[in-house]
């Protein structure tokens, strides 16, 4: 019956080859359509999609990064295109990227081109919307241009009139240019202006002096020191310091207590002391152990609280208003 077995093996190879070929093909096609693997969905908004179809490619900086999934018309001018993008690539796409629909080659199908955004912008998230780069069409451009031209013509005409008026000595500028009396007045004004500048310079110097004196204790701020508010602040800080000292004392005491307890337990384990019999009871030992662990964690917490307190104090010290106060405290 050997030939029969050989037949079976060959048949198995045949079936396996066919199946693998099929699965590989399906896998590759699916990969091209971004059906498997990590992808995200984005929305792109257009007012004209130029015959874009589901399945068309999406490019970012010229790389194929995804495909068009779905096209929905929201209103008469808004079309939302759902696109699937590879997750790997999507982290390079910024939030302020723009998209445009272009054609792929002369007879090619349409593609969506995502135009990179600015460097500073955040990366895009799934479900975000990219807006289209509104392309200015030539007719619009010409229209704008003609309006600009008309405006320019009007402007030139007005300018011409003004220039003529000035030449004739009409209006303010004309008068300035033509009337000698006004020229005298202007001169006088300039002299006055110079004088004003000088005196204002003096005033500024004096102001500076006043300001420097403000820095000393014996002036305005000195009086601020004596106000009740300052006293209160001082008191609070004193209290805080005292309490921190107390906390550290408590901590020390706790630590000694714990080390004592540890010693006791060690003694107990070694068979010394009165609670020697306790070692026979593992449950109890375990309980004590657990208590100690609790204690340890409590101490840790208290330590952290202390540290935080110190930090608070530091922050207070750094505050500009109280900086001087603390300097004095140190003295």
């Amino acid at each position: 019956m050997e030939p029969f077995n050989v037949q079976r093996i060959k048949l198995g190879i045949f079936i396996l080859t066919g199946t693998i070929l099929f699965i590989t093909g399906v896998y590759f096609i699916g990969k091209k359509q971004n059906m498997f693997g990590n992808t995200i969905e984005l929305f792109a908004v257009f007012n004209n999609i130029n015959g874009l179809k589901p399945g068309n490619n999406v490019r970012y900086s010229g790389i194929n990064v995804g495909t068009v999934n779905e096209i929905n018309m929201i209103s008469d001018t808004v079309i939302v295109v759902t696109v699937t993008i590879e997750k790997e690539i999507s982290r390079h796409i910024k939030k302020d990227s723009r998209c445009a629909i272009t054609s792929d080659g002369l007879v090619g199908s349409m593609i969506i081109n995502i135009i990179p955004g600015t460097e500073e912008s955040q990366k895009i998230n799934p479900g975000d919307t990219i807006f289209s780069l509104s392309r200015i069409r030539t007719d619009q451009m010409l229209q704008t241009l003609s309006v600009t031209n008309e405006n320019a013509a009007l402007l030139t005409a007005e300018m011409l009139k003004i220039a003529e008026g000035i030449g004739d000595g009409k209006g303010l500028i004309g008068a300035i240019i033509k009337d000698p009396a006004i020229t005298e007045d202007v001169r006088a004004i300039i002299t006055n202006l110079k004088n004003t500048t000088n005196s204002s310079n003096l005033a500024i110097n004096q102001l500076n002096k006043i300001l420097t004196s403000l820095d000393r204790n014996d002036n305005l701020i000195g009086s601020l020191r004596d106000t009740t508010l300052a006293v209160k602040v001082k008191n609070i800080i004193n209290n805080v310091e005292i309490s921190s000292v107390q906390i550290s004392q408590i901590l020390k005491q706790l630590e000694t207590t714990i080390s004592e307890t540890r010693q006791t337990i060690a003694n107990a384990r070694e068979g010394k002391g009165a609670i020697n019999y306790l070692s026979n009871d593992p449950m109890l030992v375990k309980k004590i152990d657990r208590t100690i662990t609790h204690l340890d964690s409590t101490i840790l917490e208290i330590n952290q609280a202390g540290i935080q307190l110190n930090q608070n104090l530091d922050a207070l010290k750094k505050t500009w208003l109280l900086r001087k106060q603390f300097k004095e405290e140190k003295k």
Partner: protein, 259 residues
Amino acid sequence: MNTFQNFITSIRAFLFETGELAFFAGRFFKEVFNRPFEWKEFARQCYHIGNKSLFLVAITGFIIGLVFTLQSRPKMIELGAVAWLPSMVSISIIREIGPIITALICAGRIGSGIGAELGSMRVTEQIDAMEVSGTNPFKFLVVTRILATTLMIPLLVIMSDAVALFGSFLVENIKGDVSFTLYFDEVFRAIKFSDVFPATLKTFFFGFAIGLVGCYKGYYCKHGTAGVGKTANAAVVEASMLVFILDFTAVLVTDIFTS
């Protein structure tokens, strides 16, 4: 008047044949779920239908891919669309050429083979002998063969497609300097699931039709040894016709669902 009567007779014969074939198919579906299933014979038939046809199918596929690309190339160059050749060729092969060519070759090779084998078994009373031996010859001979063609022909089509694409790639590689990666990247970009699945699905029907017609013709073979030759011939003709009709139907149906 005589021709008219002949016409009527042939119409009647055709309708009778269609009805009988449908009845035969119905019997297949009834018996296929009846236990016991003839695994050993099924495996043997799969081997004969699958492995033994592979060489022929692969050679044909290879040449089709080669020739098809060679023939389309000059025109595509003229149009300046030579870069589109891989996608064009692959879509034609996957959607239509691969399945239909493979099915026709199998109708020729397997359809006639089954027709002749069952026909001679009928004529030499081997089918009767089976029945007397307590084996349901329909289950043993017909069910296994129809199932084997139904399952093996899709596999043959897939392999033929692969070989044809490879043949097409060779032409592109030699004449157009297209790399393997680029070629198959283009191919897989062009092919959609909507191309692959209907094309694969219809090959199951092709396989079923080939097996069904071959078995039907063979199982009801008459008129001695001369009848066996006629049976084999009729099996090929009818199976090919049925494949074309099925293909046409499949394309129509696919068109409705994809557009």
